[in-house]
């Protein structure tokens, strides 16, 4: 609804600015006025015009207005008494008539139609049913308005309009402009205006002489209209907001007075706390707290903080009407007027029980998982240590067995052969069968020597200790090529020198493992081995030209890619790490390169050194 003057239903009739509303055409005009004298002017012209024309007039006005009107009409030479005698002029007291159309404080349609309709009918009869409009002035609406019953006033206006369907009359209503002095009147005023075919502004507007003054006045009216419109819109927003708050289900939103008594309640509050609005209004909000909290003065203390800080937030147990507990998130906000006076508190409560329980469960799960992770980490660590220990033990054991085989059994066999050779030369060719047996023994001894050598060298290459990688690798490659048929090339950086025993052995084991893989899996006919020192690191590369490791296999192995190369390489990777180095794997469509890197000077950390010594 708008009260802008362009509204087609409410015409602010400029043509009436200097004239009185006329009874000649039917309609329902409202006259706003400030001064009684002005109203009487308008009224006397309206009624006087009708009576002078021989038309009927009906006046339902306040006593003072009636008296003044009579006086004014008689001054103008109109014989109201005669007209009244003829039944053409009906003059009723609004104060007396109003109760007659009311039942139980409400306007009654039937009574209105009976009484007012009756008056109109009688007036018409008085002029012999001529088709002349009756001039009607009514002031019951103004009385109702003044009594603070704007809705009833509007009802009367509506009934007048209904009556216009069966009676021909020109109705003039009047309201003192002072009656529209509060914001609460805005809406009823607009509704009231709606009931009229014309609104005549008060004399303050009509009295304006010049066009600029009127324009200014209109501008002011428009401004006021805009202000009113804004306030109305704001009120509508407030109303909608109130409805929204009331409808919210998930939050308990309610107000407390400064002493902590509940002064408003929404659906969410009822749902969460279990109280109906009528049973909680006026009660102190400490009933939402557990007994021990109340004993400790928690509710009051919260209000003190909220009043002091402006806001208080808390999470904790609260109690429902049925005594059950719930985990609540509570925000209390102090409400103050413009002067800073405490009006009360707004309290928003949410039920976080589920969330709290979920969080608890989550925390428990996280803790459990962390524990499991720690355990896993620990067992992984000890597993790693164990595997390192196993590797070292294995190395030592191999070395011991290799050396034992070579140093004792090998020597015995060598000497045995030496002796057998002597026996053979002593016997010569004389003793046929004996010589044959000795020859057989010599061959068997030679085979045994070879066997022992092979086993012992694979266990532990004695050359490695004697001469280092630079010599041990080509020596090993000779044997490897002979056994596998794979051509192995070896490049070593000049002056490669010696590395710590552990590093040499570890690199040698990588070489052995890698070449075993080349032989078993790659299908390569060649292998290229490079040994060099780069930036203080000894680098051993074993490259083949085989089919490579499939990306899937590499991916499956994940970070622990050495898995792709089997347990042996994984052990080697561990060994490299322990020595402060690493094992890298590059696999392309054609060929795989294993790259073992260890510090050329041995592991620097004392921990590793200790490990090496142990």
């Amino acid at each position: 609804m708008s009260i802008a003057i362009s509204d087609p239903y409410i015409q602010l009739i400029p043509s009436l600015a200097h004239t009185t509303p006329s009874h000649d055409h039917t309609g329902h005009v409202v006259q706003l006025y400030t001064d009684d004298g002005f109203l009487i002017d308008v009224l006397s012209r309206f009624v006087g015009g009708a009576l002078a024309a021989g038309d009927p007039a009906v006046v339902i006005a306040t006593t003072s207005h009636r008296t003044e009107l009579e006086r004014r009409l008689s001054v103008h030479g109109l014989d109201t008494a005669k007209a009244a005698m003829q039944g053409r002029y009906v003059n009723l007291d609004a104060t007396e008539t109003l109760p007659k159309i009311m039942v139980n404080g409400l306007v009654d349609e039937m009574r209105f139609n009976d009484i007012i309709g009756g008056v109109l009918t009688r007036a018409r009869i008085a002029i012999g049913h001529k088709e002349r409009p009756i001039a009607v002035f009514g002031e019951m609406v103004a009385l109702l308005w003044a009594e603070g019953k704007p809705l009833e006033a509007i009802r009367v206006e509506q009934l007048w309009n209904d009556l216009a369907k069966s009676h021909s009359f020109s109705l003039l209503c009047a309201y003192p402009i002072t009656g529209f002095n509060s914001e609460g009147h805005i809406e009823p005023f607009l509704k009231m205006c709606d009931q009229h075919s014309g609104v005549v502004p008060s004399e303050s507007y009509l009295g304006l002489g010049s066009e600029p003054e009127r324009l200014r006045s209109i501008a002011q009216l428009q401004q006021r209209a805009q202000v009113l419109e804004k306030r109305l819109a704001l009120r509508q927003i407030e109303e909608r907001f109130r409805l929204l708050v009331e409808a919210v289900q998930d939050y308990a939103i309610f107000m407390l007075d400064p002493d902590g008594r509940v002064s408003s309640w929404n659906a969410g509050a009822e749902r969460i706390k279990g109280y109906k609005i009528q049973e909680i209004l006026g009660k102190h909000f400490s009933c939402f707290y557990r007994e021990e909290d109340v004993r400790n003065g928690k509710p009051d203390w919260e209000l003190v903080i909220a009043a002091k800080e402006g806001r208080f937030e808390d999470e904790g147990w609260r109690v429902r009407k049925d005594g059950s507990r719930f985990w609540a998130n509570v925000i209390i906000t102090a409400l103050r007027d413009e002067a800073g006076k405490l009006l009360g508190f707004a309290k928003v409560t949410r039920d976080f029980t589920e969330r709290m329980e979920t969080q608890k469960a989550l925390q428990k799960e996280v803790a459990e998982r962390r524990d499991a992770q720690r355990q896993l980490h620990n067992s992984e660590k000890s597993l790693r240590q164990l595997s390192l220990h196993l590797l070292r033990t294995q190395d030592e054991e191999r070395r011991r067995i290799g050396r034992d085989l070579h140093d004792s059994l090998g020597q015995y066999l060598a000497v045995l052969k030496m002796k057998l050779d002597s026996v053979a030369s002593l016997i010569g060719q004389k003793e046929g069968e004996a010589a044959q047996d000795v020859d057989e023994c010599i061959r068997l001894t030679e085979d045994s020597i070879k066997e022992v050598r092979t086993v012992s060298y694979l266990m532990y290459p004695p050359m490695l200790e004697e001469m280092g990688l630079e010599s041990a690798i080509p020596w090993y490659l000779d044997g490897f090529s002979a056994r596998s048929g794979i051509k192995a090339a070896f490049d070593v950086q000049t002056d490669f020198g010696r590395l710590p025993r552990d590093s040499e052995l570890a690199l040698f084991r990588v070489l052995q493992e890698s070449l075993t893989n080349v032989h078993r899996h790659s299908g390569s006919q060649t292998a290229h081995i490079r040994l060099s020192i780069r930036e203080g690191m000894a680098v051993l590369e074993i490259e083949d030209a085989g089919k490579g490791i499939s990306p899937q296999l590499l991916e499956q192995s994940g970070q622990d890619w050495t898995g792709a190369l089997g347990v042996g390489m994984r052990g080697m990777s561990e060994r490299m790490r322990q020595l402060g180095g690493r094992l890298e794997l590059i696999s392309k469509e054609r060929g795989t390169t294993v790259c073992a890197i260890v510090p050329a000077g041995g592991p620097s950390s004392s921990a590793s050194a200790q490990e090496r010594e142990s």
Binding site: A414, K417, S422, M463, E466, M467, S471, W475, A482
Partner: protein, 136 residues
């Protein structure tokens, strides 16, 4: 031709074998001393100044190769014959680099040892494994 020979090996049985072999083959040769590791070999060499040193490679404390290198540096004119279980071309190269004049495999002692010592006494070299196949 008389010769003074030092035998160096950490295994008694091997030393004994060599002794027997030499005694039976060349009684004029004298086994002037024995040692059981590289360090000992150097010390004994300094004292005995043998003509020939039959030197094992794999020994505790100091290997035969290292001992050969050091003995050569002494400049005593001793001829060094490496005597080893290891059958490898690589080792022949190593032995040459260590200033040894010969290398005999223990498994071929009966066949090669006496010949090798004779070759060395005559001022020559003897590297039997040059022709021998690589370790299988």
């Amino acid at each position: 031709m008389a010769a003074r020979i030092l035998i160096v090996d950490d295994h008694e049985i091997v030393r004994e074998g060599i002794r027997t072999l030499i005694d039976r083959s060349r009684s004029e040769w004298e086994i002037c001393g024995e040692a059981t590791n590289g360090e000992e070999a150097i010390e004994v060499t300094k004292t005995l100044k043998p003509d020939i040193i039959v030197l094992d490679i794999t020994m505790p404390r100091m290997s035969g190769l290292e001992a050969a290198r050091r003995i050569a540096k002494l400049g005593l004119g001793c001829r060094i014959l490496m005597f080893t279980m290891h059958d490898s071309d690589r080792l022949t190269i190593e032995a040459r680099q260590a200033q040894a004049q010969g290398l005999v495999l223990k498994s071929q002692a009966a066949r090669d040892l006496i010949r090798a010592i004779e070759r060395l006494l005559a001022g020559g070299t003897f590297f039997a494994s040059e022709a021998a196949p690589a370790f299988r």
